[in-house]
């Protein structure tokens, strides 16, 4: 049985021009593997991730024919069910540590809080160990620091620590490295990769960077305007059929091939079906 199954997931926001569907029938299965979701900005990646955690921001609404996590139907889950799942069994690394950490709480308190509400004890030792696991060299200091006292890379590592300290079965990482510079990016990826391997959890890795996703994940979903336009094994990326995926690939700069003019990403209304 797969860890997560999603069938015909739709997320709709009411707007003045009528309802706007930003996720349109996303379907996939996830085992204890690394699944990448790529697509340009605004293609509905984040909203897909949030809908899985039941955190579609109001007044948005999420519907699905099937949304099961480890055999539990999430579609009409009670507040109690959600509380027993979020944090302890499913978690999400948020996009930008600058805005997604509480500015008036120390990192330590935010970490301990994650532990406390997932059934674990409020053990400081556990939190410190987790900070070390994400390669923070001075965990004691970071533990006592406020978010604004950390650099972007540090903040993102603290965020990852906070989401992993409860040892969830499913982790959604929403562009966990986009706000970071390249050297830190690589380091954070290595940390995530190690943790996924050691713990055997399912990972949904959201990114707009096709190359990054294909080198890091087992499987890739390519999203365009709220739809999955192609699903591929990461190895088979070169065999991609869909013109949008091919477009994304052509837009990757190559060192040995100086293309002029620069290729432009094509869009076609027909892809929306």
């Amino acid at each position: 049985m797969s860890l997560l199954s999603v069938e015909n997931l739709r997320v709709t926001f009411p707007t003045r021009q009528g309802p706007s569907e930003v996720v349109r029938g996303v379907t996939f299965e996830l085992g204890r593997e690394r699944l990448g979701i790529v697509g340009e900005s605004g293609s509905g990646k984040s909203q897909t991730g949030r809908a899985i955690l039941g955190l579609t921001p109001p007044p948005g609404k999420a519907t699905a024919d099937r949304l099961e996590f480890d055999g539990i139907d999430l579609r009409n889950a009670s507040a109690r069910t959600w509380r027993s799942l979020r944090g302890s069994r499913m978690s999400m690394v948020m996009q930008d540590p600058k805005y997604s950490l509480n500015p008036v709480m120390t990192i330590g308190r935010q970490l301990i809080e994650a532990l406390r509400y997932s059934g674990g004890g409020a053990a400081k030792a556990e939190a410190m160990a987790m900070l070390e696991a994400v390669q923070i060299r001075d965990p004691e200091r970071v533990f006592r620091a406020y978010p604004h006292e950390l650099s972007g890379g540090m903040g993102q590592r603290a965020m990852i620590a906070m989401m992993l300290v409860t040892k969830p079965d499913l982790l959604i990482a929403d562009e966990p490295t986009s706000a970071l510079d390249v050297t830190v990016q690589v380091e954070v990826l290595r940390i995530l990769d190690g943790l996924v391997r050691d713990r055997g959890m399912g990972l949904i890795f959201i990114s707009h960077d096709l190359r990054l996703v294909s080198s890091f994940c087992d499987r890739v979903l390519v999203m365009y305007a709220g739809r999955v336009v192609e699903e591929l094994d990461a190895r088979d990326l070169s065999k991609a059929q869909h013109p949008y995926t091919r477009g994304l690939m052509n837009c990757l700069p190559k060192i040995d091939d100086d293309q002029r003019p620069l290729p432009v990403l094509e869009r076609d209304a027909a892809w929306l079906e």
Partner: protein, 353 residues
């Protein structure tokens, strides 16, 4: 690399308070000086002759000239200002032309009445306003939100003397639930000694519980009325600050962690909303301390508002300037307090101030 730019803020936190405090005190000193400069020049500019204020307009020319020199009015203006500063620092704000007593003792007599009323008002306003605002924000657009909005709107638009008179008519004249105008019934006035001027405090400390109940009965209605007015404002501001915080990403983070909704609202969001709220509450309090003239009039409350209005009507210049100075000092003091609280509540400003 990231370890290095963690910032030394934490380790050096204590010594950083020193320059911060020095700067705040410097600002206070400059503001106070500006305030006194203004009261001094208003005193010189108004068409009220300070000599006549002292001796009356029937005194002979020789007395006028002598007093003119006694008051130092022949000296250059900057010397006069220095003398004025010296007097103010010694607590000498001149004498009242109406009561013939030092202004400072007049103010010391009326201010506690206003302080007591304003404090009751702001406590009621905060204790009800903040939870109502939070509640409205959580139920945004729902019925509860609309109800809170309407209740607030009434507080904004209903004339206070009308509400006050209506309240007196109902609770005092009809139902006899509360005391009438004034701070205390005459029969209780001499059953306790005036120590702080705050009757609630004085009666409670002296164990005069019958008098205490009487004082409560008198302050209840005007206090509730002022509380209602500040509640209207505080709840509206709390609602908007909370809505802003609840839309932030860190709230989603807390939800992802499985934090219960109640804690998200009352700990995560409110703790952040408290930062700007402190200023709102402090300024409302200052507004009440200025002396709510209408309330004090309707309830015959012998406070600063009444005293100031009286002095203005009788052109009692020293009293008006004294009150202005006191009110200005209150604003500066409360601003300072809210700055300090702000620094305490928001770790981000600790390094900047």
């Amino acid at each position: 690399m990231a370890d290095a730019d963690l910032g030394e803020g934490r380790r050096r936190a204590l010594p950083e308070w020193v320059p911060a405090l020095a700067r705040i005190l410097g600002t206070v000193a400059v503001t106070m000086l500006g305030l006194m400069l203004i009261t001094f020049f208003i005193g010189r500019v108004v068409p009220v002759d300070p000599v006549i204020l002292v001796i009356g307009d029937r005194a002979p020319k020789s007395v006028y000239d002598r007093t003119f020199i006694e008051l130092g009015l022949d000296k250059p203006i900057w010397q006069q200002f220095l003398i004025y500063l010296g007097q103010v620092f010694q607590g000498d704000l001149g004498d009242s032309f109406l009561t013939k007593r030092p202004i400072i003792s007049d103010i010391a007599r009326v201010f506690p009445a206003t302080l007591e009323l304003a404090t009751v008002g702001i406590l009621i306003g905060t204790l009800f306003g903040v939870p109502l605002g939070v509640f409205a924000a959580v139920r945004q657009g729902k019925l509860a939100d609309q109800v809170v909005r309407v209740v607030g709107l009434i507080g904004y638009s209903a004339p206070i003397f009308w509400l006050g008179l209506l309240g007196l008519l109902l609770f005092y004249a009809r139902l006899h639930w509360i005391g009438g105008p004034g701070r205390v019934d005459i029969s209780f006035e001499y059953s306790f000694t005036n120590r702080t001027g705050l009757m609630l405090l004085d009666t409670a400390m002296q164990g005069e519980w019958a008098a205490f109940r009487n004082v409560v009965g008198h302050i209840a209605l005007p206090g509730a009325l002022l509380g209602y007015l500040s509640m209207a404002y505080i709840s509206r501001m709390s609602r908007s600050f909370m809505l802003n915080e609840l839309g932030q990403e860190y709230i989603t983070t807390a939800r992802v962690k499985g934090v219960p909704e109640r804690r998200i609202i009352w700990v995560h969001a409110l703790r952040n909303a408290a930062v700007p709220l402190v200023t709102v509450i402090a300024l409302s309090y200052a507004g009440l301390l200025e002396g709510a003239v209408l309330t004090e009039t309707v309830f015959s409350w012998p406070g600063l508002g009444q005293y100031l209005t009286n002095s203005l009507q009788k052109a009692d210049m020293n009293a008006v300037l004294g009150c202005t100075l006191v009110i200005g000092t209150i604003y500066i003091g409360l601003n300072l307090l809210s700055d300090l609280l702000y620094t305490l509540l928001d770790p981000r400003v600790r390094r900047r101030t």
